[in-house]
Amino acid sequence: MVRLTESHLRIAPLSRIEGHAALDIYLDDAGNVADARMSVMSLRGFESFIQGRPAEELPRIVTRICGICPWHHHLASTKAVETAMGVTPPPTAVKLRELCQMLATIPDKILHFYFLAAPDFVLGPDAPAAQRNVVGLAGANPDLARRAVKMRYGMQMALERFTGKAIHPVAVLVGGFSKPLLEEERRALLANVAEAKQFALDSMALARETLLPPFIKQFQDMGEYASGYLGTVDANDNVQLYDGDLCLMDNTGVRTRFAPKDYLTHIAEETAEWTWLKFPYMKKAGGLKLEGQNPLGLYRTNALARVNVAQGFATPLAQKELDIFRKEFGRPVHLVCLYHWARLMELVYCCERAEELLHDPEITGREVRLASIAPKAGEGIGHVEAPRGTLVYHIRTDDAGMVTMANIIPGTTHNNAGMNLSMKMAAQKLIRHGECSEEILNKVEMCLRAYDP
């Protein structure tokens, strides 16, 4: 423990996450935490500068919002444009898109779990900062690290072989998909997915039996709160990642299903002076409070939210894992470290769903795109479930099919309030009487990493 000499701590950059953020911790006279705030440091302006661009170009522009989940921006923006232009892509194209979403999500989850989060669990939150990373992980467990590196790489390359470009993809086009899946490509992908599925199951077992259990109590001690949850469900109320109704569960577990086009009825956004990121909240609560065990208006998204709002998974192995999870933790689950657990269940689901799609006779269909689309004025809302949470695109076009308005709510934005409250609570519990340590501050960041922002 170190005696703090300053009453303001600035933890920056928050690390092993994707974006740019800083945590400011303010101490009171007794050396306890009066407030803690996570500031997101930049506003990149995509919503504004895509105005005036041809709508069909959107899917090729918005990918640059996030190089970790470009596919999800590629897909959600395409869906919004198609709604605005009133076109429906052929069924094979829809299946190819969902397949790509699964294939892109698999390496993303491996990246997050092994490269960003696992060093804390494997090396310990108190490992020296210089070792607490994937290089340290490779030193401590070379076989595991090499397997994770290979699996992530293998899936990225498989996706690239089929679609041309895996980071900042181009294969999804307004009106369909740019190329059909050939039989030999289908067989190659099946082999990749089979390997990934085994790795997913092994990772799930490792996390469930070894890595996560020692941390459950520690996270409980860092504060836990009830909140709302947002996710997407299919007609049978199962987890869906590509399409379906949105489902918002409130702090008391009451669920409301609604069509994505009605998002403005259920969600509103607040702003704050100290961060460039907005704060969505449940509209029916009438406002948002970043405090307490039962914070007003706060809802969360991403993997844990999705398994909270859904009844189950439509695939057997993921469902089996969910049964174990529910038996142990119930529903809804609020503990932030269980985001990792939920994320690995989704990794299993993505592999199973990819296999299912690859066995669908329609997947190799030749009709992958509408021949020609007339630009027109319209309004469209499109969404997908991204690894970081529900991703909403809302656009308007003019007669020439040019974008006139775009509103984007990415997963990390939905989780802004949740991430802030989790870190504030942890800081309040752990930093007492002006004493702190690197381990404590890393534990506060572990709360953030659970959200995979």
Binding site: I17, S48, F115, I167, E438
Partner: protein
């Protein structure tokens, strides 16, 4: 052991994912490299590990890899700190090299960007002039700069690794050349030079001479069973393809251009080919040569400057239209 520091500025982290896409090559490189700073993977902090320092510091390193352009005051502070602490400053990716796609923000006044996000977006609880806005002046968030610019607009850059993101082969080439103390061999020709599609050549002067640009609302024609070499050049098919003015190499040393492999046109993400000083002028010439009327392009800046909106010519244009 060579020390390496990395920063992502106005970046999407795709360049860092591309670094990971070295796969096992990266694991083999690791014993030769010590990463002293790289926020996406490593926990080194700017204000000391306990956050008690009031001054931002970065560790010394031999190589500094920076992705992303310069868009706000924090990016600028970090860039200068990086320049001071590293021997070789590498601009990783198109954003760092030219501003990249996010520099399209330069076409919109920064005030209208913040106003849309914080006073007009349909999901805001409070819209209009009374909506609370982020206040960089009274808080610790950075201020947005009027323009998004490449690193070289602010400091001396020693090496540029092109691509959005760069092909892992070029990242490896950049790092290895530094480790081995030799010049790096990066691509220098245009995307078309490595494109396998077939070209008819100069169109006849009659009916094909003045065709309108086709938008990607139509379908290029090709046979999915047949190799890329049996597809006609997409520009000749009438689509906007920025291959003629874009630097080659997105497919690595031997691969086809990535978008062409996906049967879609190039949008210029590697940045301008070295030979083309003013891509917009050269591009219109390429369109004319293919018998296409450049004036029918629906959104000239959005196509031709998609990855190059920070280039001087455009900035000047913007200044002159303002005046």
């Amino acid at each position: 052991m060579t020390t390496l520091a990395g920063e992502s500025l106005n970046s999407c982290a795709g360049c860092e994912v591309a670094l990971l896409n070295l796969g096992e090559t990266l694991l083999d490189l690791l014993p030769q490299i010590q990463i002293v700073h790289l926020p996406v993977l490593v926990d080194n902090k700017y204000y000391g590990q306990l956050g008690q320092s009031s001054r931002l510091t970065l560790p010394k390193a031999v190589v500094g890899l920076v992705s992303g352009g310069i868009r706000n005051t924090e990016h600028l502070e970090l860039l200068h700190a990086m320049r001071e602490q590293v021997d070789v400053l590498v601009a990783l990716g198109t954003c760092a090299a030219t501003g990249g796609l996010p520099a399209l923000a330069n076409l919109t006044p920064e005030k209208s960007i913040t106003e849309f996000a914080f006073t007009q977006a349909p999901s805001l609880a409070v819209q209009g002039p009374n909506a609370p806005m982020p206040q960089p002046k009274n808080t610790s968030i950075p201020e947005i700069l009027p323009q998004c610019l490449p690193l070289s607009a602010h400091v001396k850059v020693d090496m540029v690794i092109p691509g959005c993101p760069p092909h892992p082969e070029w990242i490896a080439e950049g790092i290895l050349s530094l480790l081995e103390g030799r010049p790096a061999a990066f691509p220098s020709r245009s995307v078309c030079s490595s494109c396998p599609t077939w070209r008819k050549g100069t169109p006849g002067n009659g009916s094909e001479g003045n065709r309108p640009v086709r938008r990607m609302l139509e379908q290029p024609s090709y046979d999915p069973e047949a190799p890329l070499s049996s597809m006609q050049c997409l520009l000749e098919q009438g689509f906007m393809c920025l291959g003629p003015v874009t630097l080659a190499g997105c497919g690595g040393r031997t691969g086809s251009p990535k978008c062409i492999a996906a049967r879609t046109p190039c949008r210029g993400c590697q940045g301008p080919a070295l030979s083309s000083s003013i891509p917009s002028v050269e591009y219109v010439a390429a369109l004319t040569a293919a018998g296409i009327n450049g004036a029918t392009m629906p959104d000239k800046p959005g196509y031709i400057s998609r990855f190059n909106a920070a280039c001087d010519a455009l900035l000047q244009l913007r200044e002159s239209t303002r005046a």
